[in-house]
Point group: C2
Chain length 366, copies 2
DNA sequence: GTCGTTGCTGGTAGCGCTGTCAACGTTCCT
DNA sequence: AGGAACGTTGACAGCGCTACCAGCAACGAC
């Protein structure tokens, strides 16, 4: 009787089937599509499986069915807070589904991304989540040819491979600058680090808003390819001040930089917001409790991850979402650092997200 | 000729073997143990594989060989900065090896951990990384019975399942308090959130140090089960101040709380460090650029992750490390927030790590 | 010259599961 | 009543790879 045991001592489907008095294939169906069984057999297989403590062998399943239940996720950084929020959303959504997450880190390199994509695709993932819209031509071709659903996250653009969820970094930056204009600021600097495509588009938005107002000046822009940090924010701000002493505001490409600028202002005894206004990007948790509280552009990172994974899983299961491109929008959260003579947290300028409208191109916000 | 193609259009090992003019099994060996082949066949298989763009089918390999090349990682949180550093180390170390990482989030629940462990183990991982030493009895039994190497990370304790890498949170907390004593502080508060086992041990260390000095007072301790945040740091500090107005220092269980305390001090115009000294835990990047710069206990998170994965992979490949328990130590980085009348960044108090000595029990530091 | 020994190679037989298709019993329609 | 249609079940044949063991040549020791 023990002869049927697998070498590893594990219970196989065949044992479950035998105990339940059905054929192995019927037992197999129980796990994949229980509705297809009669109630009697269903309960028998169920109790047999429980009694034996059966756990399916995923490798065998993958081999036989020619597909895996793995969702591949490609993100550029594990360190960045932004991605940890997105990831949390993805993991939360995948939990309870039968799909597991396979994560890889492209380190902001599209070549690395291409390599990883090739690796992933070879294992026939059930679905794929990739960051951004700036893939190599080769990657793009592989994605188009892939026979699984794909979601691009973090931003939206004109030409989705399949599904897409994010927001317009360009519009968000324009909104941040517009807010500073409203507050009467004119000499608005830009501080950016890493300069990945999304930060670049924030810069583009900033530049266009400044040009529209006739206020653009190349000296107001300080960027570096160095990875971002709070300390770096202080350093870049120092550079900016040296170039442009009569600065009256800084728009930071992310909140870490903004915090660094705030500290540097305190160090130099520059009054915020009286002398210089500060606006960050992402609205990390600490922005609301800094002194003064820091204005930032809120982005829905957790929701982005969660929705991306949910959409993907639905699509894998054959229920494609009615809209393939989802704009989650953004919101300028106005706080003390940019609103002299105003109280904290006023009604905010928001992007497309509220209406979740479909967009193909960067749309002007209201 | 196309008849041998698999349905999925993929190249199989058999095709490679055919092109190379060897048997499939020889081709298989090429990928697992190239040294076993004669140089002639080796090069022939190699070029055939490259020419055909062969990618092995992992599911088939796993099924046939009865083992996977997956390293399971169980961590309690994806949000926490601390774990993102550890994870980065793990991913960095796994890159280039043939092992892939399967990550799961226990959300600080040992029951959830047990469930995930059962799931992982059923797939016969090549190795396992688990967080901490506080598993359920059932989990512990499963880990002991698992036939793969296991590394426990984040802390060290008396009774490793297999390998272990971390440091003593208890000693680190004692060192932080000792530093405050040296600075002449007496009424030292403790602020903690989440209160997971490691934070609890930091509290234990604090309590023991305070008791040793005859300074312990229950009113000095403010904790909550709520997840940590900067804002929460301010709130807990407010509570603490209400209970104990003549506080002269705060030891925070992590840096987010410390930053919140700093902001709250600024809001209340409490001078740091003149009225109140602040010490954090982990030494996140921003601590060095806050104003004043914030003292913290540096922990080697990235290195911990990297070393854990490296040790694990070595052990999987049959090269067990000479020491199974590795104490990475800690270091009190003294900065302005706790060192009145001193300049920044003096020589620091450090834990066991420098010597990487083996420890079985929390050892007193010097 | 015979017998081990070593180094390399190949054949056989699965690993545990699922896709496909045929077959069965039942119900419902005409 | 006959047959179509449906729902349910099972047999068969692999999925692509590797473990195991046998075979073979080349070589050296006696």
């Amino acid at each position: 009787m023990g002869r049927k045991r697998t070498k590893s001592g594990k219970i196989r489907l065949a044992e479950v089937a035998e105990l339940a008095g059905v054929s192995p294939i019927t037992a197999s169906r129980f796990f994949r599509n229980p509705e297809a069984l009669s109630v009697a057999k269903r309960t028998r297989v169920e109790s047999a499986a429980r009694e034996l403590g059966y756990v399916p062998n995923l490798a065998a399943r993958a081999l036989a069915s020619q597909r895996t239940e793995v969702i591949g996720v490609l993100i550029p950084s594990l360190t960045n807070n932004v991605f940890s929020d997105v990831l949390r959303g993805i993991y939360d959504a995948s939990e309870g589904s039968r799909y597991s997450i396979q994560l890889s880190n492209t380190r902001y390199s599209i070549l690395q991304e291409e390599k990883l994509l090739r690796l992933f695709l070879a294992q026939k993932p059930a679905g794929l989540i990739v960051t951004g819209i700036d893939q190599t031509t080769e990657s793009r071709a592989m994605l188009e040819a892939a026979d699984c659903p794909i979601v691009q996250i973090m931003e939206i653009g004109p030409d989705p491979v399949d599904m897409m969820i994010g927001f317009s970094h360009y519009d968000a930056a324009r909104a941040a600058v517009a807010h500073l204009f409203e507050q009467g600021r004119r000499r608005i600097g830009f501080v950016g680090a890493r300069m990945d495509p999304r930060v670049q588009r924030r810069l583009d938005g900033y530049v266009s808003a400044m040009k529209d107002a006739g206020l653009f000046d190349q000296r107001l822009v300080v960027t570096t390819a160095t990875p971002t940090s709070v300390t770096l924010g202080g350093a870049l701000f120092t550079d900016l001040l040296a170039r442009e002493p009569d600065l009256d505001a800084v728009f930071c490409a992310n909140d870490d930089l903004a915090l660094g600028v705030l500290f540097e202002c305190r160090r130099r005894e520059i009054a915020v917001p009286d002398q210089i206004a500060i606006v960050g990007f992402n609205d990390l948790e600490f922005m609301a409790s800094a002194v003064p509280t820091l204005t930032s552009v809120r982005t829905n990172r957790y929701e982005m991850g969660r929705t991306a994974a949910t959409m993907l899983i639905e699509a894998i299961d054959g229920r494609r979402p009615e809209q393939a491109v989802l704009d989650l929008g953004f919101k300028v959260i106005e706080r003390q650092s940019s609103t002299s003579r105003h109280s904290d947290s006023r009604p905010a300028v928001s992007g497309a997200g509220a209406a979740n409208k479909m967009v193909a191109l960067p749309t002007g916000h209201d």
